[in-house]
Amino acid sequence: MTGMDAILHGGLQGYLVVALLLFAIGLAAVLLRRTLLMQFMGVELMLNAANVALLAFARFRGGDLQATVFYLFIIAVAACEAAVGLALIIGLYRHRDTTDSDRTASLKQ
């Protein structure tokens, strides 16, 4: 399978293209949206894009189990990041009454 055929029928290239586009959309969400929650969701999207690429490579290398173990660690880190990140957003909202990242550019009160 080469080129467009691989993209349409789930070759390695197809998965990598999906991962790249997902990463680009996540990056656009972080750069374009001002709400901190939307930026956080963009970061989660980018993390997912990396996971898709990782597991796609693992499947085309004969079903490597190490990749799934790595994926396990990645989602453990993602869960920590989600808990602490959302706690920070709530803390910020209590102090400033806003979740707009433009309005919270300074750490000083």
Binding site: G14, L20, L21, A24, L27, T35, L72, A76, A79, G91
Partner: protein
């Protein structure tokens, strides 16, 4: 099948990016996560698909939606100062990254060779195999991950509690 799940993933992500209401954006995000779980099933990895559904679509999105409900405004606030140049630059950057990456992937000889060599479907990943690999080679990492989750939990409580 692949195309269906890829479209669910990308359209969900695109809907999230363009949606003004944060709650609806969060639900679009759940759709994207479901699409990714479907892709994992197609990659002969039902373990990762189950984890994706449980941790992302279950735990993390519930947490995000819960926080969204706690905040009073669900629409994006009006911009204090517009940054038109930076916004166009970031659109350009994301598009350039996507286009450049796709071109590279399609042109790469190594990726094509890997795709041809591994074209045969490997046996599906089993929970037993993952568990054996995890505890044979990564016991320390596993323990550290548990410690890190505990630290994050304590940190989240400490950050949100008004007076400790």
């Amino acid at each position: 099948m692949f195309l269906a799940f890829a479209l669910i993933t990308l359209l969900g992500a695109l809907g999230m990016l363009l949606q003004k209401n944060i709650i609806v954006a969060g639900l679009f995000m759940v759709a994207a996560f479901f699409g990714v779980a479907g892709l994992f099933v197609l990659l002969a990895n039902p373990v990762a698909a189950a984890l994706q559904l449980i941790v992302y679509s279950g735990a993390i999105m519930v947490l995000v939606l819960f926080v969204i409900m706690m905040l009073s405004s669900h629409e994006e606030e009006a911009a204090e100062v517009g940054h038109p140049i930076q916004r166009w630059l970031s659109v350009l950057l994301a598009l350039a990254l996507a286009a450049g990456g796709v071109t590279l992937v399609l042109a790469s000889k190594g990726v094509r060779q890997l795709a041809e060599r591994g074209a045969a479907m490997p046996p599906a990943v089993t929970l037993q195999g993952v568990g054996a690999t995890l505890f044979e080679g990564h016991v320390l990492g596993f323990e550290v991950a548990g410690l890190m989750l505990l630290a994050a939990m304590v940190g989240a409580v400490a950050l949100t509690k008004r007076n400790l």
